[in-house]
């Protein structure tokens, strides 16, 4: 799972599998981080309403 795991190898199989996995996880993590930070910012600068 990580390069420091004993069975890790720098080969195409690990690159494709974990590249795709970490790519997806990174998008989800970055997306949620953005939403949470912006929600905190919006709350601190609350204009009184939001629309959704």
């Amino acid at each position: 799972m990580f390069p420091f795991s004993f069975e890790w190898a720098w080969d195409i199989g690990h690159a494709v599998f974990f590249g795709g996995f970490w790519f997806a996880i990174s998008i989800l993590g970055a997306g949620m981080t953005f939403c949470i930070l912006k929600a905190a910012y919006d709350t601190m600068n609350d204009s009184g309403e939001s629309h959704h």
Partner: protein
């Protein structure tokens, strides 16, 4: 008692009535939990799996609920990426159904692996040459996507939405939902496909093995395609059941007709591909491995040609034809029949691709190996249905799941329901 939590303007049944309903369904969960406890405590000897059936009822249930849960990714793809705005009226419910299906799939896997304490090994010590590793990665990541897609709906609960942070968070998550939906579609394409790929690459099983494109057998593409085709049928079916139970119209006919039409065309294109695949397999692939078609459908008490005809014609061609024609699609009874047949068809396809594969004799000294699950397997497989009923009941009661509910039920007085 809980009226402060119920969406504004929505009529729900009394809390005691709701609680009694939940308690009744919880009894089924308790039954499943006892079986689950036995399996975790005593091991997989509580099942009827054996050397023939390493994959059995649980894996069929896993594949079937993942396929019918495909309505979430496909509806999300249509709504957020292809901008079909009409689907906003059903997307919340599609996500909840997807969430139930995928959480159930993960729960079943947690039982099936036999050693749940080592479940994390599949990530930490991943076998990067295994399609099932890819499935595990994509399944877990896609469950995270569904959770993220479900959160805004939870935050829109009448009380939660009064908290400014939650209000802003839901608003912001809606704003970037297309990114999450695209990630979900990417993950779904690969895990739905790889579940089919697992069967297609089993060169020791002539009933399953297929040619393909590069490293992907045709079953890879057929599984993804079928999940996108029949997943919306399941979404429509559960919506119809919810409407029947609540006594309310929850989604407009326009939205239902649109999703049914899209599903119909997906089913028709899928079933054409499936028929071509089956003919090529029967005429070329299987004979090249020394088998005739009759070998897979005769000399046993259960698997006959009926299963092939039922899956492809009755539960594939028929629902596809009904759903693509306007006159039949807009007839409520025929549409309901089509979506029921579609759901049966996709479940039957997964049954064939998991269990018939195991049953067919491969070696010359082999005989058909039929299997019937133990009560522990049945109970743990029924448990997710009860869990799904409870989650839908709770979500319907406390969350604004159906944006058209008020509008569609405003003419006549709202009936007491749940």
């Amino acid at each position: 008692m809980d009226s402060a939590l119920i969406p504004e303007g929505a009529k729900r049944c009394s809390f005691p009535k709701f609680a009694i309903g939940i308690a009744i369904v919880s009894a089924v969960i308790l039954w499943g939990a006892v079986a689950m406890g036995l399996i975790w405590w005593k091991g997989l000897n509580q099942t009827n799996m054996n050397d023939y059936y390493g994959f059995a009822l649980w894996i069929w249930a896993d594949l079937a609920i993942i396929a019918v849960g495909g309505g979430a990714f496909f509806t999300g793809l249509l709504k957020y990426i292809f901008k079909i705005d009409e689907l906003k009226n059903i997307i919340n419910f599609a996500v909840i159904i997807g969430f139930i299906c995928y959480s159930s799939a993960l729960y079943i896997l947690a039982i099936d692996i036999g050693q749940p304490l080592r479940g994390w090994f599949i990530f930490w010590h991943a076998n990067v040459h295994s399609m099932l590793t890819e499935v595990a990665f994509c399944l877990s990541a896609y469950f995270a996507v569904l959770t993220i897609e479900f959160i805004p709906n939870i935050l829109e609960n009448r009380q939660a939405n009064k908290v400014p942070f939650f209000n802003h968070l839901a608003h912001n998550m809606h704003g970037v939902m297309a990114v999450f939906a695209a990630t979900g579609a990417f993950l779904s394409f690969f895990h739905q496909g790889s579940l089919g790929g697992v069967a297609g690459v089993m060169f020791g099983r002539p009933f399953a093995v297929r040619e393909g494109l590069l490293i992907w057998p045709w079953t890879f593409f057929l599984f993804t395609w079928s999940a996108a085709a029949f997943g919306p049928c399941f979404t429509l079916l559960v919506t119809r059941i919810t409407e029947a139970v609540t006594g309310k119209k929850l989604v407009s006919d326009k939205t239902v007709h649109l999703l049914a039409k899209i599903s119909g065309w997906m089913i028709v294109t899928y079933i054409i591909a499936k028929i071509i695949d089956t003919i090529y397999w029967a005429m070329v692939t299987a004979p090249s491995l020394g088998f005739t078609l009759s070998h897979f459908y005769t000399n046993n008490s259960f698997y006959g040609y009926w299963i092939l005809i039922t899956e492809i014609v009755l539960c594939g061609v028929v629902p596809g034809a009904i759903l693509i024609m306007k006159s039949t699609r807009e007839n409520p009874k025929l549409r309901l029949m089509a979506i029921i047949l579609g759901v049966i068809g996709i479940c039957l396809n997964r049954w064939v691709m998991v269990l018939q594969i195991m049953a067919v004799p491969v070696m010359s000294f082999d005989t058909w190996a039929l299997y019937f699950p133990s009560w522990q397997e049945i109970a743990t497989t029924i448990l997710p249905i009860a869990y799904g009923i409870i989650l839908i009941a709770v979500a319907y009661r406390y969350l604004p799941v159906f944006p058209q509910e008020k509008e569609l039920n405003s003419v006549e007085p709202l009936t007491e329901a749940e």
